[in-house]
Amino acid sequence: MTEVTETNLTISVDEAIRKLVSVQHFDAGSIVSMPVMYPSGASVVLEISAQAGRVRVCDRGGGYQEAEFDGAIKVYGRYAARSASEAGIQFNGRDLFVADVPMDRMDGAMSVIASCSAQAAAFCAGRVAERHERFAREALFDKLAAVFGADGFTRDVPMIGASKHEWHVDAVIRGDKAFTVFNSVSKAYVSAVGTAAKFHDLARLEQAPRRIAVVSSHQDLGDWSGVIASASDAVIEIIDTNDRFYKVGMAA
């Protein structure tokens, strides 16, 4: 590895900056790769062309393509339209664009369009991740049904915590004297923080339920493990044995 000195650091930073934005010029217009990334890691690419003396800047449908690969075109359409409206730009169902950009405002148009395109694609990626969350809950229901029977637990149960806030837990198993709540949790910020807050609030109840967090894998949870574990009686993996699920469920 090259030794880092003040001189070569400056040179390397300059070189990296030059690589971050690139442009190619054609008779029909210019294509610019922007230093803004879609969730896939692809950069936003803009097409800048002149039509009837007017400058048009568009995202070449790059955000649309990201959503297309995730089967989320409808979600993208809704969000891109909203995002375009808020930024005062146009959306034609595929491209985000401005049709009449003053020459001296081209840099602003490029930044706004690239930003809207990446944000709309990121929103779609978030919605796709939520789909995975729903599948995780359904996987938990399947597991509990296999262990306790379809009528052996209750799904989507509202519960009042010590704060008097009403939470929803994925599943509840009622014992003779107490009960156990199960909640699927992932490393997504909303899931991890939401489950931790919910479990801490339920733990402060006079007759606190046993709180079981169910994860796809301990490894995947990363450093959220400590946050979830401190609020739970047990953190188990969805692939754990039926026997283990039975033991944590019947401990109530």
Partner: protein, 178 residues
């Protein structure tokens, strides 16, 4: 257990495949690309939801094409499994976790391969979030569209990729580099 991908998805991706029929390029649905999606046959069985997608530039004959293996559960559940991109206009940048040896690597307009192996999480039977975020370079870089398609055939193990005809494209004189 209800999961997004079938249990044998890794076997499917790694298996020998054929096109179910000669794909036809669609020149209408995208203003910049010729496109098609085609079902794939594995062991003489047409696999429901296992498809090949292709996009080839209508403006540039010497760049900007991609082919992707996909699992399509429904119109709303389309999951990319692997993708090859030939000289795209965008820069692809890997995250800091890899693939090993390619962490934070940026492909500035260079051909690259989003491999199934680097984007699949076998313990969770799902693809990483973000539409195949990991890529490795393609060496040597195919010098023509037909070379790229042949490369994709080898990569994706589609034995009769030569069934695919080149799209009826002419060089767009407006999109010749200055």
């Amino acid at each position: 257990m209800m999961l997004l991908l079938p249990d044998d998805i890794a076997e499917l991706v790694g298996s020998e495949k054929r096109l179910a029929a000669r794909p036809k390029w669609d020149a209408r649905s995208d203003p910049r690309y010729f496109v098609f999606t085609a079902p794939l046959v594995v062991a003489n069985v047409m696999m429901g939801g296992f498809e090949l997608r292709a996009k080839v530039s209508r403006q540039h004959l010497d760049r900007d094409a991609l082919m992707q293996l996909e699992f399509v559960k429904s119109a709303r559940e389309r999951i990319g499994l692997a993708r090859c991109q030939w000289r795209p206009f965008e820069t692809h940048t890997n995250k800091n976790w890899g693939p090993p040896g390619h962490e934070l690597r940026a492909f500035h307009g260079a051909s690259h391969h989003h491999t199934f192996e680097h984007n699949y999480l076998p313990d969770e039977r799902r693809m990483r979030a973000g539409s195949l975020p990991a890529a490795i370079p393609i060496h040597p870089d195919p010098t023509s569209l037909s070379g790229f398609i042949a490369f994709c055939g080898e990569c994706f193990k589609i034995s009769d990729i030569n069934l695919l005809e080149m799209p009826d494209a002419n060089a767009d004189l407006f999109w010749v580099e200055k």
